[in-house]
């Protein structure tokens, strides 16, 4: 019945096109930096209004409205304002920012310069994850190219406005994707997230100055909002879920990859079957994590019912769920970072959770006890379930540990590490119990866990 949904490429428009290269000449030949030239002739306050009108929501994971983030910036303090581009892309299942950085770095730089002008930032940093050494080099070269053409640095495009961009490399810590942890890291400290209040970045951010922290994809979108105007941009997608979204699909599909769509223009089923070619032959869909590994898992053979934010009743199968921020939340998960991880019927859910728990135990910054201890215990319990020494009460114990983390930590990592365990145990309780019973009865460790990874 439904035709294959068409991609709408705004951010990815030039990426992977024949002959498109990442150097500034190619970018300029494709209309690059024209938006910036226009932007610097406008009133910054009006530009910020455009972002509000556009309804642009953050593409990093939380989906917070960008316009509001900028509105909160403390402009009365007289302190310099900073813009930080969060390029710490490390939510498992997410690989979109890498494409932009490697293949179209000038789009990001133009988006950043448009943003710094709109918020009148004194200086900007790109915090790029340590595992992107090539990406960092590419960005540095691109900034240098842009500086030579007067798009970055002193007196941008002949105006009185000046702003530098510096690239700052992280060093392998997932928590640096959390904006206040990122700020601590940029100040040369351990990336311990700060408590809010009082440390809202918009007021007390980098060096205790007002700071906007935005994701790579969000900043690229800023350029397009300024190009088409906030009102036009808001016509793309759905109300409250405007613009396009880059979805990263991985796991058990024939054509994994990154795809850009109008937000809410397609369902999870269309994404998996029509866009990604379905599952490997002979396999059936078992579960999907729709927004990066911390998003709650969705089970394939379940009905999702309830009321949407607008009050409309819905009754969806997993395949029916529209891919937008609000629908995924209504279905009990989240759009998060856009990382869709697909699992087929060969997947052992205990192993999958064991893998995720090992990640969070490794990445907890260790500042808050419930998260530091809880993430470690969740990993220990799933590991012993896999290695053959489970206890029958482990299933409930797992959930109990998870339930004591969320809401009791400084940052959202607490939720991020608890949600997988809570949702896996809730949705696949039968499988967890069966695993525990089988191993207790047979008194034999399972064969080497296939996907759990190292202890």
């Amino acid at each position: 019945m439904a035709t294959t949904p068409q991609e709408k490429r705004i951010i990815l428009k030039n990426i992977d096109q024949d002959g498109y290269t990442r150097d500034i000449d190619c970018y300029l030949a494709n209309g690059g930096y024209e938006v910036l030239k226009q932007t610097v002739t406008k009133n910054p306050a009006d530009l910020c209004k455009e972002i509000e009108t556009s309804g642009l929501r953050g593409r990093g994971g939380a989906g917070f409205p960008c316009g509001m983030k900028w509105k909160f910036l403390d402009r009365k303090s007289g302190k310099p304002i900073y813009l930080i581009c969060n390029a710490d892309e490390s939510e498992p299942g997410t690989f979109k920012d890498r494409q932009i950085i490697h293949k179209d770095p000038h789009q990001l730089i133009e988006g950043m310069m448009c943003s710094t002008f709109a918020i009148q930032a004194a200086c900007a940093y790109i915090y790029i994850r340590g595992e992107f050494p090539e990406g960092a080099k590419i960005l540095e070269e691109a900034i240098e190219e842009a500086r030579k053409k007067n798009f970055v640095g002193k007196n941008i495009c002949g105006t009185k406005y000046s702003c530098e961009i510096y690239v700052h490399r992280g060093a392998g810590a997932y928590i640096c994707g959390e904006e206040t942890g990122l700020i601590e890291s940029l100040e040369g400290k351990r990336a311990y997230p700060r408590i809010k209040p009082p440390f809202f970045p918009a007021v007390l951010g980098l060096y205790q100055c007002p700071t906007a922290v935005n994701n790579v994809e969000t900043l690229c979108n800023v350029k397009h909002v300024f190009d088409m105007g906030g009102e036009e941009y808001a016509k793309i997608g759905k109300p409250g879920n405007t613009g396009t979204r880059i979805l990263c699909v991985s796991g058990h599909v024939k054509k994994p990859g990154y795809y850009e769509f109008e937000v809410g223009s397609l369902t999870l089923g269309q994404l998996i079957y029509d866009v990604c070619g379905g599952l490997p032959d002979g396999r059936k869909l078992k579960a999907v994590i729709p927004g990066g590994s911390s998003a709650k898992v969705l089970r394939a053979d379940e009905r999702y019912t309830g009321k949407t934010k607008g009050g409309e009743e819905f009754d969806w199968s997993l395949e029916d769920i529209p891919l937008d921020f609000d629908s995924l939340m209504a279905a009990g998960s989240m759009a998060g970072s856009g990382g869709v991880i697909v699992m087929d019927d060969t997947t052992d859910m205990v192993e999958a959770l064991g893998n995720i728990n090992a990640f969070y135990a490794h990445e907890s910054c260790g500042q808050c006890t419930p998260c530091r201890e809880g993430s470690l215990w969740m990993k220990k319990i799933t590991t012993r379930m896999l290695e053959g020494q489970p206890r029958l009460e482990d299933v409930d114990l797992l959930k109990s540990v998870a339930d004591q983390i969320a809401g009791r930590t400084i940052c959202a990592f607490g939720e991020a590490c608890a949600w997988p365990t809570q949702s896996f145990v809730l949705k696949f309780r039968d499988e967890f119990i069966a695993k525990a019973e089988k191993q207790i009865n047979e008194n034999a460790p399972s064969s080497q866990p296939a996907i759990a990874g190292k202890e």
């Binding site: 490390s90 595992e131 510096y166």
Partner: protein
């Protein structure tokens, strides 16, 4: 770390690295922000971060050595011991695991002759698991030093290992 005081004087860096260090410090209104960049630059030259290196960085930035040491122990990419001349990091996290990264890792361990988290006898290779490298659509992914490799199944892992061993001879 006081017993390494004398080593501090012996710690030295190439003039190229020193120039990069002086340049990068200018990026920040507060010197302390340059700690991570300095650690990267030192590790690039030396292969790891020694205690004298930490003291040198602290001194350079007007910090105490603990300010540097606490970063080395916090950020997984910094290491206090040398690794192999070629360092392999295989993604362990879910998307790559679903498509068999553990098998990739096993092949590389066997072919390169080193245990996980270990160094081969000749000091050429070392392997570790890394958490999500943001290449989930083309898993299994891995890095050899700064180079990124995608779609490395068992067969390609064997080829890659052979190539790395040949490069060793050159």
């Amino acid at each position: 770390m006081s017993d390494t005081q004398t080593e501090t004087e012996e710690f030295s860096l190439s003039s190229e690295t020193l120039a990069k260090i002086d340049e990068v410090i200018t990026h920040y209104p507060e010197k302390r922000s340059a700690t991570l960049p300095l650690l990267h630059l030192v590790q690039e030259e030396k292969g790891y971060i020694s205690r004298p290196a930490m003291e040198w960085i602290a001194d350079k930035l007007g910090l105490t050595p603990i300010n540097v040491y606490e970063l080395v122990t916090f950020y997984p990419m910094f290491r206090e011991k040398p690794v192999g001349r070629r360092h392999v990091r295989v993604c362990r996290t879910l998307s790559c695991a679903l498509v068999g990264s553990h098998k990739t890792c096993k092949v590389l361990q066997d072919k390169l002759g080193c245990e996980l988290d270990g160094v081969s006898e000749d000091g050429e290779f070392s392997i570790e698991y890394a958490e999500c490298l943001a290449g989930c659509g083309t898993g299994p992914v891995l890095m050899v030093d700064d180079d990124f490799y995608e779609n490395i199944d068992e067969a390609k892992a064997a080829e890659l290992a052979e190539r790395l061993k040949t490069e060793k001879k050159d």
